[in-house]
Symmetry: C2
Subunit: 333 residues, 2 copies
DNA sequence: TTGTAAGCGTTATCAG
DNA sequence: CTGATAACGCTTACAA
């Protein structure tokens, strides 16, 4: 393995100069630089990253904790993070926290052991823990957040988004609108629920507790919740699901119950995953700027890593995308 | 930051002993070990991974190159790799090669720069390049493969799987069966195409070139291909798509053409992604043991890293899962 | 601008 | 079984 020494010898300069020529080009003469680069090329020198990381005490690697890689919503966010990281010469280590909720905690050790310089968390399960264990280590929260945020957060206005979704259904004439929420404890779910409630209340409709059920973002849970809702004596004429995968589960359940969408049931999802527009009927949903969320989170993290400006939360724009799964209610039964 | 020195001082031993007590516990007395562990705990020592990696010349990190993180099929494979890596104390760095085909090449530099000890490639775009650039660096191919494999491969029998899918359609009575293939150049596509052909030929059916079209595994491409096929003067009565996302695109296209599945068109997918069973109709497809493919690939890589046994290719079991999207053809039009 | 040289924290070698 | 000590390859004061 060729080292910086070989290059130095070949170029007839010191190792320090080689290091400088490579890392801080403007610190050396044009001529020296040329000579070093020549030498590098001619002996096929590749820097030993481990040595550099060791010396500089930074890994140029970040940790991304995601609850479920299989959810296309997160895939897109990861893509956003990835490409931004790539541009800034950072590597991304991925950790899934869904399988075994204690995982997040175990990943906390990553930071302590200096495997990564910072982290982006897409889930808050065990975050307090994570942050407590890693005092003053750069962490950014994306999508999910905490009531009192201990670190910068990138997200959309979930309350407003939920309000928009329900408002759309109300405009169409729906009065009996069910909501399939995500994990109840998460602030994100709380915000969306608030939006659902406030939209209903603004329309003078009493919120019925039995129309609010809880899933976990998976298609399986959406399916189960829809079965439950559709089995009611007076089933809802519309369902708002807190994730597209859940909405897809709802579609399946509706089909099995002989319930047509949107004729018998209107459906709104959340996230606008890539499959949403390919469903039949295509899914009305809240579009989240996924790649942007990812890249913004990464940028925030970079700021933290350079600990320059006091970072701040970002609230990005969402958008209600109206497709075929919503329509006017048709009185029936 | 506490180092091994602090621990040594606290335990009244040398740094060498601390290192041994931590890395090769059986090389020190029970008593010494205890004392060291005590010291470690009492001063909250965490090993500096960068230093260790530097010294040992290994990162305990592997690189996984995937064409498209957004395809749930790959997500599951990644999960398999992840969990296996986790168990063996390896970290996983993810790279996406879809965005800009030259990416794979750029990632090749990762290995040279010793960011990772080995790699698992889920795509062969630029593999030759990758491998050429990283002579005798451990690489495992999963899902995809090469005609003459330069490294161990983990996959299913794609020819057989395609044959199974088409055989199923033939049994139902279909004679005019279209095939939406993946990227034509890939050996995987070639194998599946071979299976499609041989199944047809065994049934004494002439293979019609116009019934073979090419997609790229995305729903968009499935949609476009289906539109093309359904616009034919004599459209096929069944379509076999080389990926579930493409099949989902086909469903959408069929719906738009007023073509019902399975009454007017039978459809078989490939991969059995999590959404397959939630489609309406639920999707008949080839199930691949995704997590298993991932974990097997990781295990193969671990073997390579320990360069012990001469590793070998693994061909795992696939399974035709018959759901609602296939049925007997109903003569019509 | 460039060279000298002292580490960074760990492991491996070699004596004891 | 344990200790002293020399690396590992790079960066960075400090000096020239």
């Amino acid at each position: 393995m060729t080292t910086i020494k070989d290059v130095a010898a070949l170029a007839g300069v010191s190792t320090a100069t080689v290091s400088r020529a490579l890392s801080q080009p403007d610190k050396v003469t044009e001529e020296t630089r040329e000579r070093v680069l020549q030498a590098v090329k001619s002996c096929g020198y590749k820097m030993n990253t481990a040595a550099r990381q060791f010396r500089r005490q930074r890994t140029e690697t970040i940790l991304v904790l995601v609850p479920d890689i299989g959810n296309p919503f997160f895939s897109n966010i990861i893509q956003g993070i990835e490409s931004c990281a790539q541009q800034h010469n950072y590597r991304v280590i991925l950790g899934e926290t869904d399988t075994g909720r204690a995982e997040a905690e175990s990943y906390a050790g990553y930071m302590r052991q200096q495997h990564a310089d910072g982290a982006i968390l897409l889930s808050v399960d065990g975050v307090e823990n994570f942050i407590a264990d890693n005092t003053n280590i750069p962490v950014v929260l994306a999508c999910e957040y905490l009531p009192v945020s201990p670190c910068p957060t990138v997200r959309i206005d979930n309350t407003q988004a939920a309000e928009d979704a329900v408002a759309h259904l109300l405009e169409l004439g729906h009065r009996r609108i069910a909501y399939i929420n995500g994990p109840a404890a998460s602030p994100l779910s709380i915000d969306r629920l608030r939006g659902y409630r406030s939209a209903l209340q603004s329309a003078g409709i009493t919120v019925e507790q039995e129309l609010i059920v809880q899933g976990d973002y998976s298609p399986e849970s959406g399916y189960a919740c829809a079965k439950q809702l559709l089995a009611m004596v007076t089933p809802p004429s519309a369902i708002f699901a807190a994730s597209d995968p859940m909405a897809i589960g709802v579609m399946r359940a509706a089909g099995e119950c002989g319930c047509r969408i949107p004729e018998d049931l209107s459906l709104v999802g959340f996230d606008d995953i890539r499959f949403a527009e390919f469903m039949t009927p295509s899914l009305t949903t809240i579009h989240q700027p996924r790649e942007l969320i990812g890249s913004t989170a990464m940028q925030q993290l970079l700021l933290l890593l350079d600990d320059t400006t006091p970072q701040q939360d970002s609230v990005l724009e969402h958008q209600l995308v109206i497709r075929e799964s919503t329509g006017r209610p048709t009185r029936k039964l």
